[in-house]
Assembly symmetry: C2
Homo-oligomer: 308 residues x 2
């Protein structure tokens, strides 16, 4: 199996692109393809101040690496969720993020939920007085809140996350099975800014997970390999397994599913509804954190964490 | 396990409806539920002349039986496709349809592809000079043509097919994976009449396959149990298996997928595009069969079968 660009041995084969590349050409292709996606969906340009959400995993560290190599102005942000599994998941993830930033002299902002907000995610979610069973919903809410707040406070133009194609397709699959028109309406490579909410973009949305793994390995970026221990048994993982089976039978199926969905949006076949009238007019500043919210009194995040 | 309506032993449990019923109450519920679907989607009323497409299987014979019991004016139409498997699939199916009609003194029209059009479906599809590998595409085309022609010639108001929820959901799943906006735009319980094309309706679109099986068995309707031998390995069967796995994990998932899709249509979230401008104006009558077509010269059906 040889590289399609030179005579070296290929390091990766991508049947959905009918392409196989050696290490050197793969790394170049991956970086170029990211920039293509950024331009294709008008995500941002070289003048933008970018904040990338970093988990210490392969996707976010690869994304930060690629944006840095492409010459974008990009700082990182790590949220220590306080997940203390056997292998000390959150603290180990943080060290991977910190070492990455240090080696490249990049700026990394760290928020520690327990230190800065009084309680870790598992403590808030699993606190017996609340009776939640899984912390994923609380975790999602907290990450969105904290990241948006940091992007606003730091006056960043865009908040970037490293969702890959497998992530996007699993989310799309779940939203489609339920024909959840609100969530379908909101799923796109770019979410425009609205009052109080910074612009968001996903430059890796067209990369298969195995492509981001390959990039991290070939670029020799150390990262935390474990999945979050709470992800086990989630719907998303179930959908990923199922979509992987289909992909195995028909290479390119996942990419096609996502790209055709985006085309259906662009063609006007899907009509995302605007936020309900008055919703944004009713928004006020949370008296605790100062972020815009439509909840009465404290915002949902502060209500959760101030009860802590 | 007891019937929710009386003290008899339940014959079926429907977790998605949180309902279990004895034989007698199940048959009544099934008939009532069909009529409810007919009214819910404005399919037709008691004054309509209805033609039901009958394959000799559980779905179509159950549908004919229910419409007859509900007092609708409904004739049947059987197309002998000429599939001569080991167990003489087409001829045996025809006998089930004929016996059903005879016992109830109902009118059954039979079209025999080989006798009436010169060649069976496998002959047309598999003829070495055409090089097709599977007859499913030709079969679909031929059935749509012949049924529509019979409905037009017999001046029926509506052509009814017995697609069940599992059929509809497998089709929807395939169309959604490909985000095929043309096919998604057309998939609905009712297809309105257009020039040359009779109105179509699917009164069983909300019944799980196991519910139509249960109806046929409990109503003691003999039917052909074998699947078409050419269906093996089809995408549709693959999707059915996959959706059955998901349904097993979350009862009601398939019904929810379909109903939420219909609601998304009704809400305007999905915008079916009208046929391209001029398409219908360009239609002319096929010089051979007299049906409307947009192909130049003979219609696609006549071209296929006249080359036979």
């Amino acid at each position: 199996m040889y590289c399609h660009r030179c005579s070296q041995k290929a390091a990766i084969r991508m049947p959905h692109h009918r392409l196989q590349l050696c290490k050197e050409h793969y790394l170049a292709w991956f970086i170029e393809h990211t920039d293509h996606t950024i331009r294709r969906y008008h995500m941002f340009d070289r003048s933008a101040h970018i904040l990338v959400a970093v988990s210490g995993g392969k996707d976010s560290l690869s994304l930060w690496d690629v944006l840095w190599r492409l010459g974008y102005q990009v700082d990182g942000m790590y949220i220590n969720l306080g997940i203390q599994s056997e292998d000390d998941y959150s603290n180990r993830s943080q060290r991977y993020a910190e070492e990455f930033a240090q080696q490249r002299s990049l700026k990394l902002q760290v928020v520690d939920m327990a230190r800065d907000y009084g309680e870790s995610i598992p403590e808030v979610a699993l606190g017996s007085h609340r009776g939640h069973s899984k912390p994923c919903a609380v975790c999602g809410l907290a990450k969105r809140h904290v990241m948006n707040r940091a992007a606003n406070d730091g006056q960043y133009d865009v908040l970037v996350t490293a969702h890959n194609l497998d992530d996007e397709v699993a989310i799309l699959f779940g939203n489609t099975l339920a024909w959840d028109t609100d969530l379908l309406g909101r799923q796109a490579p770019v979410l425009e800014a609205r009052p109080g909410f910074v612009r968001k973009a996903k430059p890796f949305c067209r990369f298969y997970e195995r492509e981001t793994v390959a990039y991290a390995l070939l670029q020799q970026i150390p990262y935390i390999e474990e999945e979050c221990p709470y992800a086990v048994g989630s719907k998303q993982l179930r959908y990923k397994t199922l979509l992987n089976e289909l992909e195995e039978e028909r290479p390119g199926l996942k990419l096609n599913f996502y790209v055709k969905y985006l085309q259906a949006r662009e063609s006007g076949f899907i009509q995302p509804r605007p936020p309900e009238e008055g919703t944004e007019a009713e928004a006020h500043r949370c008296p605790s954190c100062g972020q815009l919210t439509t909840s009465s009194g404290l915002c949902t995040f502060c209500r959760l964490f101030e009860q802590a």
